[in-house]
Structures are given as structure tokens and as C-alpha cells.
């Protein structure tokens, strides 16, 4: 029998109480239980960044967090513009720079960019590259993504 745990967390600013299987990962809970499908599963093992979320303010791979470990956490996903206003500017910049092709990496890229800009509002190009180094994109070649983050940092600074 699969053990379930009663946990609670804040997701995009709203409090939830729910019961989760002990052997699930937070990514599955976000997608399948909370029905927020912006967060993607690519590799499932920490290598692609498609599942990036903010967990207590830090970017993490949701595919590597055991669901019960999320008890009491503050979680923000790509749908969380209500609590992270910068998300809107970043999303807009990605669209305007054409930084999205198939779009599969985009939510993760945006969350890594958000974490970067929260820590460092005016990153250099090399800091941007480092900031998105945990996210793979098979389509764009990264140049437009880097431009988008640069643009977002300027827009937010205005």
C-alpha cells in the first residue's frame, strides 16, 4: 500500500491542504493534483530544468523534490504572476524577443530568469548565461533567450 501524507503549502500565494503519496515528486503534484501544467517534465532527473519552480524563494528542480518534503513550503510556478510581479515582464520579453520556439523549455527558463533577476536585477550577459545554465533549450540556440532576459531586466528597472 502506498503511504500518503497530509501536507500543506502555499502555491502561487494560495494556501492548500492535501494528501500526497510518499513516493510522488512535487512535479507530479503540481501538474496532476493542482492542475498547473505550465511546469514541464523533460528528463525527470535534474538535467533539463523544464520543471524549475521557486521553492522558498530559490529555484529548484521540482522533479527531484519528494512530495512530502513540500510540507510548509512557499512555491511559485510560472503561473504565479500574482505573487511575483516580475513574471509578467519576463514573459512579455520572451514573446517580444522571439525567445520561444516549441516552448517546452520556456516555463523553466522563465523561472530561472525570475530567480536570477530577484537576486541580481542588472545581470551581465555572462551572469545571464550562468543563470540559465541549468535549463536546456533544443530549439533557440539561447541567443534570443539571453536577449529576452536582458530586455526584462531593463523593463523591470524602468
Amino acid at each position: 500500500m502506498v503511504q500518503t501524507m497530509d501536507i500543506s503549502f502555499a502555491l502561487n500565494g494560495k494556501e492548500y491542504k492535501l494528501s500526497v503519496p510518499a513516493n510522488a515528486v512535487l512535479l507530479d503534484i503540481i501538474r496532476d493534483k493542482m492542475h498547473l501544467t505550465g511546469t514541464k517534465e523533460g528528463c525527470g532527473r535534474g538535467e533539463c530544468g523544464a520543471c524549475t519552480i521557486l521553492f522558498n524563494g530559490r529555484s529548484v528542480n521540482a522533479c527531484l523534490i519528494l512530495a512530502p518534503q513540500a510540507d510548509g513550503a512557499e512555491i511559485v510556478t510560472v503561473e504565479g504572476a500574482d505573487v511575483e510581479r516580475k513574471l509578467l515582464s519576463i514573459q512579455k520579453a520572451f514573446v517580444e524577443e522571439g525567445a520561444i520556439q516549441c516552448g517546452f523549455c520556456t516555463p523553466g527558463m522563465i523561472m530561472s530568469s525570475l530567480y536570477l533577476l530577484n537576486k541580481n536585477p542588472n545581470p551581465s550577459i555572462s551572469e545571464i548565461r550562468e543563470g540559465i545554465s541549468g535549463n536546456l533549450c533544443r530549439c533557440t540556440g539561447y541567443v534570443k533567450i539571453i536577449k529576452a532576459v536582458e530586455r526584462a531586466s531593463k523593463d523591470i528597472g524602468k
Binding site: 513516493n23 529548484v60 512530502p68 545554465s133
Partner: protein
């Protein structure tokens, strides 16, 4: 993932109780960046998972009488953001900066990197040269071991099933001490070390190229991280005046390492590159008047 029984401890005492109670069938989870990958591959035999990630007493960085303590739940990001580490344990800092990605560093802990005991674990070679000690605690008491004694093989340590790693501590780096950590991966980000090298040296005095103490460690070139004693002796007994002399010393690395060929690199490549990494690291230091790179 197989069915698991999840347990959580919020204090060291309660963790030790659980470890003792479930003895052979319990596995600790901290950041989970190693363990969850293994769980997904069904490579974990234990059925009880003990979450220690909330134990406040296991988290923090502090100085005490010339010693710097980095508690096991400290994440790689915490290490990178610490001024104390930047000043007194910068070789460890250089190592943690190369780990995984921002996401992995935000979640992965120093304790997890150590206990995971990968020969390619990047913090480990740095902790070797910073002569770190580990405090292991069980319900029966505690013991302190040197980082070198801790590992017995790939993924293998002397940690008993009922023991918890509770402290990692090392002497603060002094004014006249210098060093570096260098890693060769298959690419810059998200790359497990093909090999790595860490060096700490104590300079005899400003203006000299001589050193009265040296510790060198290589990662991913043997079943555990290894000391490079021939290199250390050569550094102490000579003067690192010319690039030729430095190359001569670096070439001794060849005799220290017993690498294997695997998916990341061949034996020959690892041997050659252990020389090159050491050579490059020493040259860079010398070019900067033996001051750490910032």
C-alpha cells in the same frame, strides 16, 4: 518509484532515534538531488526514508577558535553566498561553484555531497586539501574522523547505518595560504567531473616561490578521492620559479592517479589531463603572485 514509508525528524535526537529504530532499513534524505534520482531508478533498497531537511541544528556556517564549521544541510548556494567561506575556505567555495546548475546548488547540500561518496564529488577534493574533519553521531555517542578516513570506495563510507553526519569543520585558511580547485567536465554547466584537482599551499614568505606545506587531491581518478603525496613533496622541496619547474612537478601527478576508462573519458586522457589541470592551476596562481584568483 516504489512505495516508501516517509519519516521526518525535526531535531538531531529524533533523527537518531529513527535511525536506531529502523537500523538496516532506513535511508536519509537531505536535498534529495542524489537520492531522488536513485529512487526513480529503483536503486535504493531501503523502504523507510528519513527526511532531515528541516533540522535547524544541522544548518549553518560559523567560525570558532580558528575553525570554520559548515553544517551538513548547508547548500552549495549557501556556501557561495557566505562571506566567511569566501575568506576562510575559498577552495571549498571554488569547488561548490562548479556543481551542477543553480537549481542543483540551491537544493543540494554539502553533507549529501560527502555521504554520497562519489569519487567525482566536487566538494570532496576541496575538503581533502582543507583537511576537514567530520563528526558522526549515533544514539550511542559521537566520533570525529578525518575526511580522508571517511571513504572506502565508490559510494562507500565508514558511516554506520545508525549514524548521522552532524558537522563538517576545518581550519580557517591563513593569510599566507593559497590554493585552487579546478575541474574538467564535458561542458561548463551540469557536468560531472571527468576529473578534478584541489591544491592548498603555504608560502614561506612574500616574494618567494617556496612553500613549506602543500596538500594536493585528485577527484574522479581512483575509487575515492586521493592525495597526491609525490606532488606535495615536490612542491615543498623545490622552488616554483619557472614554468618548466612547475611542469616537472605537475608531471608527477601521472604517478598518483589510477583512473579507469568510462563513458566520460579514457584512462589515458584522465592521466594526461590530471597533469594539465595541475600545471594550469599552478601557473595561474604564480601569474597572480600566488594569490587566489578572485
Amino acid at each position: 518509484m516504489k512505495a516508501l514509508n516517509y519519516l521526518r525528524a525535526d531535531t538531531i535526537d529524533s533523527a537518531l532515534q529513527y535511525l536506531d529504530e529502523f537500523k538496516q532499513d532506513i535511508r536519509i534524505i537531505a536535498g534529495g538531488t542524489d537520492l531522488v534520482v536513485r529512487l526513480k531508478q529503483d536503486m535504493v533498497k531501503e523502504n523507510n526514508i528519513l527526511d532531515i531537511s528541516r533540522i535547524k541544528e544541522l544548518n549553518g556556517i560559523f567560525r570558532e577558535n580558528g575553525t570554520i564549521h559548515v553544517l551538513p544541510l548547508t547548500t552549495h548556494t549557501d556556501i557561495l553566498e557566505s562571506e566567511v567561506i569566501d575568506k576562510y575556505a575559498f577552495i571549498l567555495r571554488e569547488a561548490c561553484a562548479t556543481i551542477g546548475s543553480p537549481q542543483i546548488r540551491n537544493r543540494g547540500t554539502l553533507g549529501g555531497n560527502i555521504v554520497n561518496a562519489s569519487p567525482a564529488g566536487d566538494s570532496i577534493s576541496a575538503l581533502f586539501v582543507q583537511t576537514a574533519k567530520l563528526k558522526l553521531k549515533s544514539i550511542n555517542g559521537e566520533r570525529v574522523v578525518s575526511i580522508e578516513e571517511f571513504f572506502t570506495g565508490p559510494g562507500k563510507t565508514i558511516l554506520k547505518p545508525n549514524e548521522l553526519l552532524v558537522d563538517i569543520f576545518m581550519p580557517e585558511l591563513e593569510e599566507n595560504e593559497t590554493g585552487f580547485f579546478k575541474k574538467l567536465g564535458q561542458r561548463d554547466a551540469l557536468a560531472i567531473s571527468v576529473l578534478n584537482v584541489a591544491v592548498k599551499m603555504r608560502r614561506r614568505g612574500a616574494g618567494t616561490n617556496t612553500f613549506d606545506r602543500a596538500v594536493v587531491a585528485f577527484g574522479a581518478v581512483a575509487p575515492t578521492v586521493v592525495r597526491g603525496r609525490r606532488v606535495e613533496n615536490a612542491i615543498i622541496s623545490s622552488s616554483l620559479d619557472s614554468s618548466k619547474q612547475i611542469h616537472y612537478i605537475a608531471r608527477l601527478a601521472f604517478r598518483e592517479v589510477s583512473p579507469i576508462s568510462d563513458i566520460r573519458a579514457s584512462l589515458k586522457y584522465r592521466q594526461d589531463m590530471s597533469i594539465n589541470l595541475l600545471y594550469e592551476g599552478l601557473l595561474d596562481l604564480r601569474a597572480n603572485d600566488w594569490k587566489r584568483k578572485t
